[in-house]
Subunit: 480 residues, 2 copies
């Protein structure tokens, strides 16, 4: 596996991304199923790690998992006006089954608000049935024109939470709780990806939502990636599907609902935040293998000596570290180093005959390639040292990504400055423009308002486009 | 939730099953999507427990998880002759997507041998690439005519393992390893469901397999339920999809493949093995809630005293026991007892004002309803006592199910005896008949050969149907 198989980022960022996906055994484009991918072992193992960490947070915040059908009667998609416009053009339709044409076609769920709305209308009767706090992990399908592994695929895997509440305040609190306690916390603490929490503009919100919140991350090419969304759906779906409840005064009311999701596109965000020209870089909390141990020997006598040390060193690691001993006989240490670097394993331990004599090992950090990240340490206390190092790497990756974002973000005072800044990263701008203004800017610059950050300066300024005074700042960027 | 909502087993076993599914909050029939169900919180939580235990075993036996696309080009299904006959009649077809008719339709996977075969043919080049040991957790769809929650639904969730090997011996060893170390071990140790391990006859094997192995369980009405299958696919799919490798002698060979799966129908098996007229019974190792604590009080003063004891007793339980404190104020203890009995929680702890004074609690076993399963024990050492009790319950459920199966199994010497025995359970019979004989017996008795048990008597006997001498025994039963 020679290193040249990965194009450098400087040369071609898009090709670099595809090379990483292929060489790190993450995924393969399934050319026989339009716009779909096969998740290969490392890619799926990372997703399982993500899923576990997200699922823990979803359950800790009081939600239960359920599972609704894959198919939705086509008529359901048509019931909520904005939702139709948003999703009807990109659904896949099942028109035949069991050898017969169906009288009413089904669509493969592009998202499940409609079918879940149907069931919520049956299950919810009284204020005592609320809040209803459910989530599901499943596959969904949107027939996308231009696809890219993880970032945009026809079929993708995600979780979608769907909740129902007695009033707007509770629905809003739920929407924000998910944004902060589940999504932003997961992105920053587990993925080591710093995110901006904000509100979507009308142009960018979910079809059918009252308000959409999001977390936005910056990739290494300065573009934004929407890493998760949480929607206050107001009473829109409750009205379309007649989700009603009887309140304390025995009056029938429409419920307020929310929905929120993150998907396998997070794997794309992970790659484009941390990886480098040597291959994948995975933060320790998500790494399926955190430590790889490579024994080094030239003959059977050395092998025996080295392996005895390796087994002694790792004897207490089960359940403490996720590790692998790479004792394959037919490959050179150099080949193995490259392979595990390519696959993003955070820490590599090398043990050779001299290490056995000296009571030392070599330890190499994946986040700092080359000599700089390598050191020689005593075997004594190795487990503790590795655990500390994993925490340090987790922290260092987050800080590096945060520094990168700060270096590639700037306040812009004019439309000219905005045009220049979106070439290199995020442009923070005061904004009092219309949806039409926003669309015009998109046509001219390919940048959109990624979000209205929840964290606002609180001081007034001049709108970058209309020249009006306003207190509202937004983030403009090109997006994935 | 009055108990009368559950029909007794004696009165109507099928209705009893549907009542349990509904009242224990396991699933709801999704009448708007033909043959599908919604998995409700308790049902899905049990599946998550099953999934975790199975996934651990699948990984421990050396397999990696991956994920292939939901859709399969329709032409793929047609490539393996037996597979076409088995699956083509029951697929759901996607004929339109993104607003256009598709030139080649896709089918929603009924099982993934074909699309995985396509990729394996690309990935496998040399004997060094083998064995390839992959598994996926996913949804599949088979347009079934008669459906029943969990047992037979159009969409279901399962795992499907797909492996490729250099020769027949290795494929056969894999097939049997999965049968014993993954499926039978999980069924008996985790589900507390005793199973018979056996080989399917030609009539009952997987379409496209060389040999199909299975585990068969007995339900409380004496009928058999196939709880998992493991197939040696021979070279059938390797030939249909050109999965070839170069061997040590540089000769191109077809690989040998296997596939194996268990599904959400296991939830049906769980219900019909252990549950009773009071509701669901879940073995402790699968119970999302193992212990429910019900505080008993009449006024605020009592409430305060009782809850202090409850919190003290449970303070060390997190991470040790899966438990819930049911401190809902608006419901009576009796109502709560019924509800948790209905939902199958293995152990109930009751704490009232007298218990606080006496330093005791009441402890009730779900597997022994009524007074007989209830005792009063000291608060001291409660955690240890509960852990021991959970193990005892797990064991007792297995033994009860095993005793039931033995009591409802019999050796039969004649076709007349066979006809009588399949009315009440399993009929063990010597068998030297043909596939046509087997079909005739099915028409006349509704019983089929569930399997040829791996455990054979080794002594000859007379075939129950043809009168020929043979050493082969089989199990006849009616099946779900």
């Amino acid at each position: 596996m020679p290193k040249e198989v990965i194009t450098t980022r400087a040369k071609d960022y898009n090709q670099w991304y595809l090379d990483i996906v292929r060489e790190a055994d993450l995924a393969e484009v399934a050319e026989v199923v339009r716009g779909c991918i096969v998740f290969k072992p490392t890619g799926w193992a990372i997703w399982e790690m993500m899923q576990r960490a997200l699922d823990d947070r979803i359950k800790e915040t009081g939600h239960s998992n359920v599972q609704f059908p894959l198919l939705i009667p086509k008529s359901f998609i048509m019931k909520e006006a904005e939702h139709v416009d948003g999703f009807a053009p990109e659904v896949a339709e099942v028109t035949r089954a069991g050898g017969e044409d169906l009288t009413e076609p089904y669509v493969i769920r592009p998202t499940s608000e409609t079918i879940i709305g149907h069931f919520y209308s049956k299950w919810i009767r009284s204020y005592r049935d609320l809040p209803l706090l459910y989530n599901q992990w499943c596959n969904v399908m949107r027939w996308e024109m231009r696809t890219r592994p993880f970032l945009r695929t026809s079929e993708f895997i995600w979780q979608e939470g769907h909740t129902a509440h007695v009033n707007e305040a509770e629905a809003e609190a739920e929407t924000l709780k998910i944004l902060h306690e589940v999504y932003a916390d997961f992105a920053e603490q587990v993925m080591a990806v710093p995110v901006i929490r904000g509100l979507k503009t009308e142009n960018e919100k979910f079809p059918g939502a009252l308000r959409s919140y999001c977390i936005e991350a910056m990739m290494q090419d300065g573009r934004a990636l929407q890493a998760g969304t949480s929607h206050n759906l107001g009473q829109n779906f409750a009205k379309a599907f007649e989700i009603t409840y009887t309140d304390h005064n025995n009056t029938v009311q429409h419920a307020w609902t929310t929905s929120w999701g993150v998907s396998t596109r997070l794997i794309g965000a992970l790659i484009m935040t941390h990886s480098d020209d040597e291959g994948l870089v995975i933060p320790p909390r998500l790494a399926p293998i955190q430590v790889v141990v490579v024994p080094i020997f030239k003959n059977d006598a050395e092998r025996e000596k080295v392996m005895a040390t390796v087994h002694a060193l790792t004897s207490t690691w089960k359940g403490v570290l996720r590790f692998k001993i790479d004792d394959r006989d037919n490959l050179s240490p150099g080949f193995k180093f490259n392979e595990w670097e390519m696959k993003g394993v955070p820490v590599r331990i090398e043990v050779g005959p001299k290490d056995v004599e000296k009571g030392s090992v070599a330890i190499a950090r994946r986040d700092i390639p080359g000599r700089e990240g390598k050191s020689f340490v005593p075997q004594e206390g190795l487990t503790e040292r590795i655990r500390d190092l994993l925490e340090a790497i987790q922290q260092a990756l987050f800080e590096r990504a945060l520094r990168f974002r700060e270096q590639h973000s700037a306040d812009v005072q004019s439309y000219e400055e905005l045009k220049v800044q979106v070439e290199r990263g995020f442009a923070r701008a005061y904004w009092a423009g219309s949806s039409a203004d926003e669309k015009r800017i998109q046509e001219e610059t390919r940048a959109t308002i990624r979000c209205i950050p929840l964290d606002q300066p609180g001081t007034p300024g001049i709108c970058v486009y209309t020249g009006k005074e306003t207190t509202q700042q937004v983030i403009f960027a090109r997006a994935y």
